[in-house]
């Protein structure tokens, strides 16, 4: 069972993207609210759900024929006259489970790669974002081949049953807790997985920096989609002096972005559901509320909030926030910040802000994370040439651009030899002798650059 020509499927995808762009936006718009007319900010929707998806699509369509080609590899002396290449085979039937926070983008980007790699795909959108789920269920089948792809609308129970089936690959985006469940189910069938999970992304701000620029970039990253993205800066680490400078700067940035009353701004999002809203409310009991803190349950609105003097033991530091709350934890210096980061689970991304390159590089070299962005937030995911993925608790595997294609491809090592030159092969056949061994040694040796070839 082979999928349709990836190119045909890809072009259909693009058409759907173009035509249904406004439809997608509308779905995402309507999503993060309970039917009240407070849309997900149009720009954010356009930027993350549509533009970045289009980029992936273009990148894939531009390069697919090249990616699909057999990759010829360097050969040894023994195989010099053979054909040696890596064949890019599809896995077969892959399952993509999407999350609710960027319900279109985080489903379509892996889908693009899965189709490009020649697989058949089962798509399971998040049941929490009902409008997007419906859009996927109705939209995709009208553009994609009905035999090669299917959308499954499923809640927790049905998804558990879905996972009992045998898939050839599973791509999951969501929380670490569910990631474990998915991987455990995959283990029963020896199904390889990519897990795009989350974590608490630290954001170190050094004492030497342009505070207002830092504040804008951090505020933008934190409050994008009302904080509901896996790569948002989760908490700030800085000195007490920097905290004092940052607070008014952050306040200024928030006002610049959303006006004096963010609840009235069309550019500020809402929390996706009641359960998430309540969870976030409890996190507000951390440190002291320096900016924001207002909530409106009916509207599922939480103001852009900055908590100062937060302690590592506070509620906001125990879990990934996934909301418009930015705790600031005071540390003495960069070393303490690095130790703090390293004492916790490895996050999806580490951010570091400093006008001193050395500081940024130190944080990069002495920490470990899925990705790293210096002097800005979120932007590393806009480059399709950079792999996107976690490490440790924040995930395994990666995607974006060619990495998505590679994720859904089995790289099959192929050696195509001739039937001739059998005399040369006699060296490897029994009965063995010291002489044969000597020749075999020489023929197989990988020469070291600095080894003397005379001796």
């Amino acid at each position: 069972m082979k999928g349709l020509s990836p190119q045909i499927l890809g072009k259909k995808k693009k058409k759907m993207q173009g035509r249904d762009m406004s439809c997608c936006c509308a779905a995402a718009h309507a999503e993060l609210t309970r039917g009240v007319l407070c849309p997900q900010p149009f720009f954010e929707c356009e930027f993350s759900e549509i533009l970045l998806c289009k980029n992936e699509l273009h990148e894939t369509l531009n390069n697919l024929s090249h990616w699909m080609k057999d990759e010829h590899v360097d050969k040894s002396l023994v195989t010099r006259l053979d054909l040696a290449f890596i064949r890019k085979d599809p896995y077969g039937v892959v399952l993509i489970i999407g999350p609710w926070n960027c319900p279109i983008h985080l489903l379509l980007v892996p889908l693009i790669g899965a189709i490009a790699a020649g697989n058949c795909v089962i798509i399971k959108p998040s049941e929490i974002t009902k409008n997007s789920e419906r859009l996927m269920a109705e939209g995709l089948p009208s553009y994609l081949d009905k035999d090669c792809s299917a959308v499954v609308a499923a809640g927790v129970e049905e998804t558990t049953r879905l996972l009992e089936n045998k898939f050839d690959y599973i791509f999951f985006t969501g929380s670490s807790a569910v990631g474990r469940i998915v991987m455990t189910a995959a283990a029963k069938q020896l199904t390889p997985v990519t897990l795009e999970l989350g974590g608490k992304n630290p954001c170190y701000v050094s004492d030497s920096c342009d505070v207002q620029n830092v504040a804008r970039r951090v505020a933008w990253g934190r409050f994008f989609n009302a904080g509901q993205i896996c790569i948002a800066p989760n908490y700030v680490l800085c000195s007490a002096e920097m905290q004092e400078k940052l607070l008014p700067a952050l306040h200024k940035a928030i006002t610049e972005f959303y006006g004096p009353n963010p609840q009235e701004s069309p550019d500020f999002g809402r929390i996706v559901g009641d359960r998430q809203f309540q969870r976030l409310q409890t996190l507000l009991r951390s440190g002291r509320v320096a900016i924001g803190g207002q909530t409106d349950e009916k509207d599922r609105y939480i103001a852009p909030t900055v908590l100062a003097d937060v302690l590592p033991s506070d509620p906001a530091m125990q879990e990934e926030i996934f909301g418009p709350i930015l705790p600031i934890v005071v540390v003495a210096n960069m070393d303490e910040a690095i130790d703090f980061i390293n004492s916790r689970e490895r996050p999806l991304v580490v951010y570091a802000f400093s006008s001193d390159d050395k500081v940024v590089n130190q944080v990069l070299e002495r920490t470990s994370s899925g990705g790293f962005c210096g002097n800005d937030t979120l932007m590393h995911v806009t480059l399709t040439s950079l792999p996107f993925g976690g490490i440790g608790n924040s995930g395994l595997g990666m995607h974006h651009g060619k990495f998505t294609f590679d994720t859904f491809t089995h790289h099959r090592g192929c050696l195509h030899r001739g039937m001739g030159r059998e005399a040369l092969h006699a060296l490897r056949y029994p009965p063995y002798s010291q002489q044969k061994l000597g020749i075999v040694r020489v023929a197989s040796e990988v020469k070291r650059k600095d080894a003397c070839t005379l001796l």
Binding site: H58, V73, A84, L190, N213, H410, H416, R417, M419
Partner: protein, 510 residues
Amino acid sequence: MERMQEVVGRARAAFNSGRCRSLEFRMQQLKALERMVWEKEEEILAAIKADLHKSGHNAYSHEILGVLGELALAMDKLPSWAAPQPVKKNLLTMRDEAYVCLEPLGVVLIIGAWNYPFVLTMQPLIGAIAAGNAVVVKPSEISENTAQLVADLLPQYLDRELYPVVTGGVPETTELLTQRFDHILYTGNSTVGKIVMAAAAKHLTPVTLELGGKSPCYIDKDCDLAVACRRITWGKFMNCGQTCIAPDYIICDPSIQSKVVENIKATLQEFYGEDVKSSPDYERIVNKRHFKRILGLLEGQKVAHGGEADEASCFIAPTILTDVSPESKVMEEEIFGPVLPILTMKSVDEAIEFINRREKPLALYVFSNNKKLIKRVISETSSGGVTGNDVIMHFFLSTLPFGGVGNSGMGAYHGKHSFETFSHRRACLIKDLKMEGTNKLRYPPSSQKKVDWAKFFLLKRFNKGRVGLVILALLGIVAAVVIKNHQSVLKRKALLVVLAVQRLGWLSVW
């Protein structure tokens, strides 16, 4: 319980100290490993002989050569493998640094297998050390002499805390698997592979599973049977059939079955002489359990050649079975022994269909003079790897990734693929704190204008091919004319031209 926790804990503390990250340290450890193999060659060969009755020559070419080759390659290439890889940027990031950093994962667990007990433990170890990790090594207890030797030798040459060896059987391995690792590479069978992956899932640990399966070997009517059968005989009976990528069974047309049998018999004579048992080049089954299991597969089969066995020495003669039925016991599990079933099928279509109905194998072999047929078989089947017109050989080319698919495994290693398996590809984008002007485009409050600018800067254009090149050339001419005639407004116009070309998306390398 405490022992495993201690060992892994010490390895983790040693990794966190940062000493295994520098290239110098990694090279030093790899050089020490190379010295170990040179200096202790006799001991290694003796241990393998004790475990598998393998002659020194066989052990050297099957195991030691592979390890030395991998070491030399890793030491040669390490600086280039470990270097940060710059990536293509877009207009928005053109002034920034964007690259992929290859970083160690942390503490890696390598569980070795018993059939090639030295190379299947060392080869992954080399990749893991090269990638800068701490490594816990767990050799197979079934090849107990080699396991003990590895446990004795590694601490003498390598850093003891970073690269501990843990010996033991199932209880110890189960214990070890409860600890948290940052990657596990397991070589063995699918049943245990599932257990390893389930244990890894608890810690979200990525795994590479080198498993097995029944590797089919299709012989076309149109091929040099003598050559094909010699190569197949070599691959099948090396290590007494106990090779994960041995051709497990043959599929051929009924009309050539007897010729295939004759050719293999003739080759066996060439290789091992009249009395196989007394050939120093023929190995033994690793233990009584496997001996009994393999003999059990012969029940009810038509033995065209061989079948002799001696339990005391775990000897099973090279055995050929003909007219084997797909439903028989010998076709249910991976044979892993010197028993070669031949199934007859009238066409390559039937063979392909047969192969595709079964679990995806680790290797697939096809012999034919017809290149198109070989290409077709490769394209219409799936397997870990393939060798056409030979067997086993794709394993020895380190530029090819070695690994399974489906039931035969996941992930791959060898050469650079080992390095990548044991590394984390960390995306790095370093921007300037200045240049805030461009960022204003993305900040709220939003507007249609901002959306349009975002599209301008971010959206890749669909490649318009030749037309685009022509337009590019025209723009270049325009730019040249402008620069020549209007020196005073050079800067502004040049910037416009550059931006326009970027807009069209063809200059992507900055």
